[in-house]
């Protein structure tokens, strides 16, 4: 699915949270959104997900304007504890993602098992979320996003709450999932390394109210790997570039 963002803006009360933003994200593209804290990244993601009404402008998914959570879009929230339902087993949590489209029972079971295998947790279906570690819960949240067989995956700092090792694992998991499912991915992150390592393009937002400072193409070779990619000189250049943009003093003029 192609995402078109047309002069999208949002204010909370009379405080602007997002200045008009325009961008186009192609089918199957992986775009990372970075920017200083409070600049409106989560707001942008919620607008894309149809979870917040837009103030101005609009979002189009394959030419269709978004008003409310669209079919074919899955969201992974930053706070997995408040996104998985602790009273349901992992299997039932995952099943909820497909309730809206009512697949046949066998088909649903198949999708759940496949999603759990994809995230490396094939044996947890009968457990409750609170019986899993934080990183495992985050992986369940990703698996749930996959059960809906989305064509767009929106993720809000999905790896912020896990340790470095799990984080690296989850990053590679997401790269593999993109190969496997061919989805369009928008990833909000605080982590400059992560954005450059994962994405095809990095959208750098300005301090609040956010607008696009730079739309940076990440021209790193395809299969990416923690050791190989991060050792490339080009990786270091891009990383420095994004870093410089994010760290820019607030008064700075447009690039």
């Amino acid at each position: 699915m192609e995402i078109t963002i047309e002069r999208l803006a949002k204010r909370y009360g009379d405080r602007p949270a997002l200045d008009p933003i325009s961008a186009r994200i192609g089918q199957g593209e992986f775009v990372a959104v970075v920017g200083p804290s409070g600049c409106g990244k989560s707001t942008l993601l919620m607008l894309l997900a149809g979870l917040l009404p837009a103030g101005e402008g609009r979002v189009l998914l394959d030419e269709v304007p978004v008003d409310g959570p669209p079919a074919g879009v899955s969201v992974v929230f930053q706070d997995y504890a408040r996104s998985l339902f602790p009273w349901l087993t992992v299997r039932r949590n995952l099943a909820l993602a497909a309730v809206a489209e009512r697949p046949a029972r066998a088909e649903l079971e198949h999708r759940i098992d496949r999603a759990l295998r994809s995230v490396g947790l094939p044996d947890t279906a009968a457990r409750f979320p609170w019986q899993l570690s934080g990183g495992q819960q985050q992986r369940v949240a990703i698996a749930r996003a996959l059960v809906a067989e989305p064509r767009v995956l929106l993720m809000d700092e999905p790896f912020a709450a896990v340790d470095a090792q799990t984080r690296a694992d989850l990053q590679d998991l997401v790269l593999r999932l993109r190969e496997e499912y061919g989805v369009t991915i928008v990833l909000v992150t605080h982590d400059v390394d992560e954005s450059v390592y994962l994405a095809d393009r990095v959208l750098v937002l300005s301090p609040a109210p956010g607008r696009v400072l730079r739309d940076l193409v990440v021209d790193l070779p395809a299969p990416r790997g923690q050791l190989v990619t991060k050792a490339l000189p080009r990786f270091a250049e891009l990383r420095a570039e994004v870093f410089r943009l994010v760290m820019r003093p607030v008064d700075g003029a447009a690039p």
């Binding site: 997900a49 979870l51 959570p69 079919a71 879009v73 899955s74 969201v75 929230f77 706070d79 997995y80 504890a81 408040r82 996104s83 339902f85 602790p86 009273w87 349901l88 039932r92 909820l96 993602a97 309730v99 809206a100 457990r127 409750f128 979320p129 609170w130 019986q131 899993l132 570690s133 934080g134 495992q136 819960q137 809906a148």
Partner: protein, 282 residues
Amino acid sequence: MAERGRGGPASTVEPGTAERAGRLRRALRPLASLWLLAALLLVWELAARADPSPFLPPFSVVAARFGEDWFAPAPGTLLLSERFLDAVPVSLSRLARGWALAAVLGIAIGVLLGRSRAARALASPVIRFWMSVPGVAVLPIALQFFGVSDAVSVFLIAFGSVWIIATHTADGVAGVDPGWLRTARSLRLPRGALLLRVVLPAAAPSILAGLRVSLGFGLVLMIVAELYATTAGLGHDIALYQQTFRYPEMWSAFLLVALLGIALNGAVDLVERRVLRWRRRG
């Protein structure tokens, strides 16, 4: 509530021996706390013997009476006496009907109110008013409607419990973590699934608290209705024993009512623990 977010380490499913021993100790702990109750019963016994009063027979007399009154050496009736079978099922069925009615209505009303701030504002003075009318005050009016019948007790129990359940449910539903609701919205859950899988379970702690409190109220009101205007049931029996000066029997009925109350509470406890398992993190 702050606890809610933390994920513990994966816990083993099978209880180990240490855990089993801990569970045994936990099961025995209430027994260790019983000594004061036993001491109080002993004080009762001694006081009643030292200064005999027809109104307060010694505990031993009451206990003996209790065995005679409510139990019989007849296996066909599960060792329960005719008196038990005449009174208890009648009373419990009234309680069950009234309380179930209150639970269904109360949860339905509570969900409606909890989901909409406007509905809450619209209904809150009315509900506050009905909550403040002691259920018993409408008893004479209920008699006018239903005559002396089971319906009076059922109505009274339902009326006295429904507002408590409704307000607890409304509080619980209104307080559901917005994070869960946002997730549900992004999953595009249909109304039914949203209610059954997300809203009600998330509000369950509050709903169950309401059900528990209202059960105590229901018991109180069941007895009032039976004391006031019925021809059978535990409350009716208590009134009868009082009026016919059969005080040990009256006390034995008190004891039975108390034990029934404890049993019902225990049952709610059990359900609560099962339904709210997810709140006790790993």
